[in-house]
Symmetry: C2
Subunit: 408 residues, 2 copies
């Protein structure tokens, strides 16, 4: 097989993971040009680095790997490459989530290909499966744990009793967190991934602003202890459903029962559940972050591209947008707020309410369209509650945690 | 897109599942010729049937779907088709497990393609993933629940207290069982699937006679009640491992702990866990039997074939065969036998033994090479025991079940 020219942008967690794998496998997959940004950073002395994209493009590469942390510059590199008909592998969910419709057009017009498995669930080949196995199946819902870093944090909190801050520091040390970890914990990383997956599952580009998002950063001890008292865990769940009205999508910390497939998904693992008409129910679990699993996803895309694989986007149809009414459907949650006014203006169909340590906790319904505003109001926390956990269960748990406080 | 000519062999559980999906999706995927066997069977009157393979081949089909229950005749149809360079989709694990090396050669020589996702884990795209995502990753182990029918039976026994016979009858009614259900329960269906998966995972054709196999048909109430007393379940597990000595493969009823990913796999679901060097750990769950999931896997293969996808078999290397010594490694089990002689001649490193209701139950090691002989000796049952379940735990459980017997 003829050696291919490969240009690599970025030599961080993902870039180094890719490099390590390519080096160990076949020499032909080692990039001939590696572009990074910071001229002052110490680098391995046995690798030659470049600091300008020109060095990549001048060599007329067959493949470009875009593994940088920046969105704007990635946009320049990727669109330039696609316009030259080059095959690009990207791990950049921010870029993809913002620009997929344009990037799909560029592929169609100029014949370049773009693969990006690492941008969704890293080690789990969910985009590939959606594009092959599910290509002509009708998907009913897609649900997942899509951020390795926040899942790692929740595992440390629930299984090791760590505080939020301690757990976040550990996730950063292990390389699971994005360079700006606030994207991990406020749900925005998940929302970019869900936005990409929705396109492949349902053929629509909904855009992140249409995905009702609330992160784990406002979780308090009460929610955590409540979950423990009921034998539940809290997971940051992403969910997209399709029915006759359209697609609804939301990202919410969620009380998860032991019988739920996601209960046992721990640490940096991601998991995805797809319900479809023919294949019915599938569940995938794999590493969603970290140097080797992400590098391997990039490497896998490169091998697939060499074998002639590309995304067909056969479900894609951008005609009819998301129905905004879906953001008005109620989600059953445990809602925490600082004031009774806030509580009453947001929660409808309340089932239970309690006042504890200066906060109001209410079981009831909230509208996804309010999530982004509530995120900024402060004091608020929202955790989705499955129907099978009744208001009585919640009441029982509140009594339990108050008991334990009194005893200490 | 030009209409393709499709010939279908077989209109049973899988054939009808495929037909139903093709009909609902796009008319072009509905077969123009359907060959079945029994001229006296009542059939839907709105579909035309043929009774000779000639009717398919005379039409020069682009695709042939081989979905019949017979192995020998399937061999004729599939080899004939491949020699004509036709693309074939098959669900026939018996055929594939017996003849894969030859079928791979025929593809290479004549340019026809053969896809067979439905033959492994039906709804789960495990072969496709092995051929794409894992193509250049080194697989360390592959483990799975690969027979929907026996898993369904075990679920009914463990979750609904049914007897073995009642549970088997239900599996047959639901269409999960093969036409001859003994293949489901004696492990031979699983062993043909594992044989196929080993080829795609490790590149070796080990052959079913090298896969140490023991089914669920000899399971007794004692093993089942013992599992229940310990909070365990029994699952029919298939496992293949690779180390410096070679590949070892075995199929055994296995005590499974709650912390194991396979614990929650119920009913006709299949599941596969793959551990590899780069992607590390992946777990897939989906429907492994039944009309629609299996039909959808066939349909998915057809769509993939149309998109130019084929198996690369890039790991395949038939040079060095399986090391027979691996069949001599010990597996830790609970062993039941009718005589002390049999017990002592088979079990080594015994940790615990008890005599109950005319049987000897021993925790110790047995050699996989003895499984097939023990299968025929009668009275014997073998259930693999994880290291974390100690001899003391087993002793405790034996006391518990004897207590409950006395009380009744
Ligand atoms: N970490 C994960 O587990 C993970 C998982 C899935 C997807 N991703 C995605 O993969 C991408 C890379 O993530 P990462 O974790 O590897 O980030 P990282 O460790 O922060 O590394 C980023 C790399 O990009 C380089 N870079 C930044 N701007 C550049 C520019 N304009 N031109 C050339 N190089 C530039 C940096 O150069 P310097 O070395 O000079 O700083 C650095 O080498 C991101 O899009 C991220 O969202 C990450
Ligand atoms: N059932 C499952 O869930 C499942 C899952 C995965 C794979 N599979 C595999 O899929 C294949 C089909 O299984 P199935 O469950 O659909 O079997 P089935 O329900 O017993 O149906 C078998 C079909 O094959 C036809 N047939 C048998 N010999 C034939 C011959 N020589 N020429 C033409 N047609 C012939 C039969 O014809 P008549 O109608 O005239 O009897 C019948 O239509 C098997 O290889 C099986 O191992 C099954």
């Amino acid at each position: 097989m003829m050696t291919k020219r490969i240009g690599l942008f970025g030599f961080g967690v993902v870039g180094q993971g890719y490099y390590q794998i390519a080096k160990k496998q076949k020499e032909q997959w080692v990039p001939d040009t590696i572009v990074v940004k910071d001229q002052k950073k110490r680098r391995p002395s046995d690798i030659k680095f470049s600091y300008t994209a020109k060095d990549v493009f001048d060599k007329n590469p067959d493949y470009i790997l875009e593994l940088i942390s920046d969105e704007k510059e990635a946009y320049e590199y990727v669109t330039e490459a696609l316009k030259r008909g080059i095959t690009v592998i990207s791990a950049n969910k921010k870029l993809l989530s913002a620009h997929l419709p344009e990037l799909i057009s560029l592929q169609k017009v100029f014949g370049g290909k773009l693969l990006y498995e690492a941008a969704a669930a890293a080690g789990i080949p969910v985009i590939t499966n959606l594009e092959t196995h599910f290509e002509e199946d009708t998907i009913i819902s897609l649900e997942g744990i899509l951020n390795g870093s926040s899942n790692y944090i929740l595992s440390r909190i629930f299984n090791n009793g760590l505080s939020f801050e301690e757990a976040l520091r550990m996730a950063q040390q292990k390389g699971f967190a994005e360079s700006d970890p606030s994207f991990d914990i406020n749900g925005s990383d998940v929302s970019s991934k869900l936005n990409i997956l929705i396109l492949h599952a349902f053929g629509k580009f909904v855009g992140q602003e249409q995905i009702a998002t609330f992160g784990i950063q406002h979780l308090g001890d009460v929610e955590i202890n409540l979950a423990k008292a009921l034998g539940l865990k809290i997971k940051l769940m992403a969910k997209a459903d399709k029915d006759y009205r359209g697609i609804s999508a939301q990202i919410l910390p969620t009380f998860v029962e032991e019988s739920n497939s996601f209960f046992g998904v721990e640490n940096e693992y991601n998991a995805v559940k797809i319900v479809s008409e023919h294949l019915q129910e599938q569940f995938y679990l794999g590493k969603g972050a970290g140097s080797l699993p992400t590098g391997a996803a990039v490497y896998g895309d490169l091998i697939k591209a060499r074998n002639g694989f590309s995304y067909n986007y056969s479900k894609v149809n951008f005609d009819k947008p998301l129905d905004e009414k879906l953001l008005n459907l109620g989600v059953r949650v445990l809602f925490r707020s600082k004031s009774l006014e806030q509580n009453d203006s947001v929660v409808f169909s309340p089932e239970y309410s309690i006042h504890l340590d200066g906060y109001y906790y209410t079981v009831g319904k909230v509208k996804p369209k309010n999530f982004s505003r509530l995120n900024e109001e402060g004091g608020v926390s929202i955790v989705a509650l499955p129907d099978s956990v009744s208001a009585e269960d919640v009441d029982y748990a509140f009594r339990e945690i108050q008991k334990s406080v009194e005893v200490v």
